[in-house]
Subunit: 340 residues, 2 copies
């Protein structure tokens, strides 16, 4: 039998805790036999919630008590330092001590990012661990790397992002020879800000990645590249604008559909088909965002995540572990410079 992959799930994190994280955990261990979930958080609360599910393999869900909760509004660095018995700190410590392989949380992004770096720690050779969510494209997904909290990256960081992102897309998401592009303000080679201009030739020379050049933001949703390399400030703008334009447009479409009797009848008829199509353009369907380059895996799910996203994030962790992504990243980032 395959070795169990041990995933800690923060039972207290996110808008829908503890209900949805626990539901996602239960569904994961019911569906697959190679997973053990450790739920961190207030034991009594978790026990009460788990009691709703009589029918699941009880030996594969464990509770580890953590009396504190880090709120989204708390300053991350301070929260991680003070709340030693929070579900996040307790969970990350288990990954650090190798009692678990991965940690999944819908809680405070800042705390998860800071905690991941401070508690779990960077892998050897990693200059800056990027947060890399999958974003929907016309016919699939792309990895947007970096959307983390540390902005103003250096060119060498972006090159590492390209390498780590390629490994992740190839071995976790399953895209063969993923196309890597750098976000730019034009397709021509003379375009770019200082960072992009400095990074472009480094990516061009970089062995072992499939660098296809610059990508304009317009072409990201169209799916022109699989690994979208950018500095975290720009990545944050892209990620959040994706959500914002999508939400506003869908709101307007709903308004339009409700504007006359004729269109209301039409809306009833198109609704099921539309819902199905829009689901493929919904980021939450694709699990969480991994924080790459750490000594273990940390995955940040949306604050509004429901069970299916938690479950998918757990599966992501299994794939990550079984595909030895951290070993592959370490090998790739620490390989000696080629002599030619």
């Amino acid at each position: 039998m395959a070795e169990l992959v041990k995933v800690v799930v923060d039972a207290m994190g996110g808008d829908n805790a503890p209900v949805e994280p626990i539901k996602g955990a239960v569904e994961a261990v019911k569906e697959r036999t190679d997973i053990q979930v450790i739920l961190t958080g207030r034991q009594q609360v978790i026990e009460k919630e788990l009691a709703k599910y009589p029918d699941y393999p009880k030996d594969r869900i464990r509770i580890v008590d953590a009396s504190e909760v880090i709120e989204t509004a708390e300053p991350p660095v301070y929260a991680i330092r003070k709340k030693k018995d929070s579900s996040i700190v307790v969970g990350l410590n288990m990954v650090k001590k190798q009692e678990a392989d991965a940690f999944v949380s819908s809680g405070s992004t800042g705390a998860v990012l800071v905690g991941g770096q401070v508690i779990v720690g960077r892998s050897k050779g990693v200059e800056r661990p990027p947060l890399a969510p999958l974003i929907p494209t016309k016919d699939g997904v792309a990895l947007l790397i970096d959307c983390g909290a540390n902005v103003d990256a250096r060119p060498s960081h972006l090159v590492q992002f390209a390498k780590m992102g390629s490994i992740y897309m190839e071995h976790v998401v399953g895209v063969k020879n993923p196309r890597v592009a750098i976000v730019n303000n034009g397709a021509e080679e003379e375009k770019g800000n200082a960072l992009v201009k400095e990074t472009f030739p480094l990516l061009k020379e970089c062995q072992g990645i499939n660098f296809i050049g610059s990508i304009e933001a317009r072409d990201i949703p169209a799916g022109y590249a699989d690994v979208i390399v950018c500095e975290a400030f720009v990545g944050n703008v892209i990620l959040k604008l994706y959500e914002g334009v999508g939400a506003t447009l869908i709101k307007k479409i709903k308004e339009g559909m409700m504007s006359s009797l004729r269109s209301k009848i039409g809306a009833l008829l198109v609704k099921p088909a539309l819902k199905e199509t829009l689901k493929t353009f919904d980021a939450s369907e694709h699990g969480g965002a991994p924080l790459l380059g750490l000594k273990g895996l940390v995955v940040k799910t949306h604050g509004s995540a429901v069970a299916v996203e938690i479950k998918n994030a757990i599966y992501q962790c299994v794939q990550f572990k079984q595909q030895k992504i951290n070993e592959k990243i370490a090998e790739r980032l620490n390989e000696p410079a080629k002599q030619e």
Copy 2:
């Protein structure tokens, strides 16, 4: 009678030239009596196209012959220098010599931006002229400033953008006391890259603008601010991602609607209402993007602009002139520092 506002329209620029620019010009002079349009480009081509419209006030459309055309792919600086007899250079020179008040083009963005700065020239006190398109929001529009070709701005540039943008939104678009926000990767005051962190306190202290703080990209389409201040690289990403997410989402919705017989029937019923609603979320409805801070007005319309956008851009120029925007900008940027 009010003084005629003289607007040069590049009859050769854009994907739909000469048909659409000329149609837009004809419609503008037919609808309003305070406009004179000067069409620049190949005289014979323009005359032939104009001949299709027997019924318009002929004294208010003039042709100025320009034998060359700058193509979109040409390097802008070189093109402006070499093609002295292009529709863009001839048009911009008319603004420079004050033979016209404004220039509208759907041609090469780079050439229009470079030409605007090099030929028309900056107003006194303007450090960097920003390109500022209007982008659709849930219930209106916002001014995205800067989306120009010069990236890596300094804090003082962003402060000038906030001032110029406020004047434009108030007096051209008609938004009273427009809310100014700076694009940031979080709402908290400690967030930001180096540029934003340096600019934030300057905007906070700046008199005469209604600064409301940081805006996350997610909240731009929701309409949380009227003047969206950012550095041009970020502005470019926002502008193009707006287009990209919108286009991909609408494509997916159409696919969804065509996926079953039931939904096809529904699609027929919702179509008219939907079209009307989506029109309000279409950037081209809002005329062109002004290049602010020049000694005249230069407006860049979409490469794919049709007549209605050209017409709206011409009206924008009239409003700009009649509201004395350049005088207001000059006064605002050159006022002595307040002593308190």
